[in-house]
Amino acid sequence: MNWLRKMLKPLMIVAPYVLRNSQTVAYPTERLMFFDRFRGRHVFHLDRCISCGICARVCPDASIELVEIEGKDKKYPQIDYNTCCFCGYCVEHCPKQALEFTDIVEFATADRSELVYSPERLMEVPDIKEILPMMKRRTEAYLTDKEMKYRKVKDV
């Protein structure tokens, strides 16, 4: 009978899992809230940049190149997301905090040249609802003693 009890014990442990909630997020209807330090796409503040070039020199993948833009006489950074590894050195070493991270991660395109973001394109941060029009909620994860659950933070 010890044998029978040994066989039934995994069954008793696994069977209640069928009744639990699913631990998935129904993307793109729901989207998780990211933390403050999350390293997503950059945003560039033109008024703070002094064109020192530290971001281009410290970037490990040589993804930042200083280019000219219309109407200004200084050069500003252009980031090539084909090679950027989101390490965070450019943000950390900028003396004026002109480059910062946002939480946009959806910028897949069909053409490689579109992934090279000019300074003007880096300046504007589209609203998340424009990128994902089918999104309805933002959720976040929280931990109880027994399981991790997702709860709604806000409707969008």
Partner: protein, 371 residues
Amino acid sequence: MREPMIKPDVMRISWGPQHPMSGQTRILLDVDGERVHRIIADLGFTHRGIEKILENRTFFSGIIPVDRMAMVDTANMSIGYVTAIEKAAGIEVPERAKWIRTLVCEMSRINSHLYAFGLQAESTGYFPAVFLWTTVDREILLDLFEELTGARWSFNFFFPGGVHQDLPDGFREKVLKAVKYLRGRFKDYWGAMVENPLFENRCNGVAILEPKDALRLGATGPVLRGSGIDIDMRRDEPYDAYGDVEWEVITEDACDVMARTKVRFHEIGQALNIMEQIAQKIPDGPVKGRVNAFMRVPEGECISRVEAGRGELGFHLFTNGTGNPYRVKINSPTLRNMYVFERLAELNEVFIADIPVIINSIDPWYLDADR
């Protein structure tokens, strides 16, 4: 590679790179019926030339490829390189930074062992339940990483001189809550998987590695500790805060696949103890030393050895006074364990059905074997 000749009474199967369970490698099996006579491992499919890349990058930029050597266990990979640079340059690390580094390394170790656990369950045919439970539990750790460092894995959080950012508010309570949750989950894993009679049938007595063979062939990590030998780099050459917290080295005496699985299981328990102690007792202080991003290191060489999730990882660093290292030699744990794996077919009687179980008990991550 030049493969050895096939003997006339065996069939050579290429457990090839296109296989649901082979990982990113090819393993050739010489098979006679159901019994495997010889195993030949053909590594090198994911060679990226990290050692050469590191020669062309500055020290700070070089931490990033080293992070990507084993993504599931990144902190332990980069701590080795960072410790080597600190030894070569003679940089002091503040106390609080050392404790934060230990916390992140132990969380990374839990991540790696949970992944190995899930793969071990999948290799015995138990895919539906345990592998996805471990994925869910790793989500909790990945969320903690994201809150602390900004990325889920391949965060480059360490640099020679400290860590990039301090703990955010409320992080210590979150760590304690995660520890409590994970401890509750382990009762489920232990009962559903390790004490499952069919899992014990698959794992007990399979691929026995005697202690003298383990030492002779150069095993490392849980493979070595599962054969009863008491070697652990965190205790033998302590780095960071491992000397300040209380923990034990886990060894098992049964020398088979089940022993290695149990070693990993109990190491997760020890890692949770360390995390709890750090979250309660971490000292205050600064977190970064003053280090230049384009630092130059005086000429010399140094060795640093750390204990990654898979075994002992060694960095032998040669510098020549410029901003780039002259040569970095990485001694990876998986490469050493794959050599042990090849010899296992000669030491035991191994069936084809045992091969995935044995591979996942050695827990290879071929990207750090190939670098």
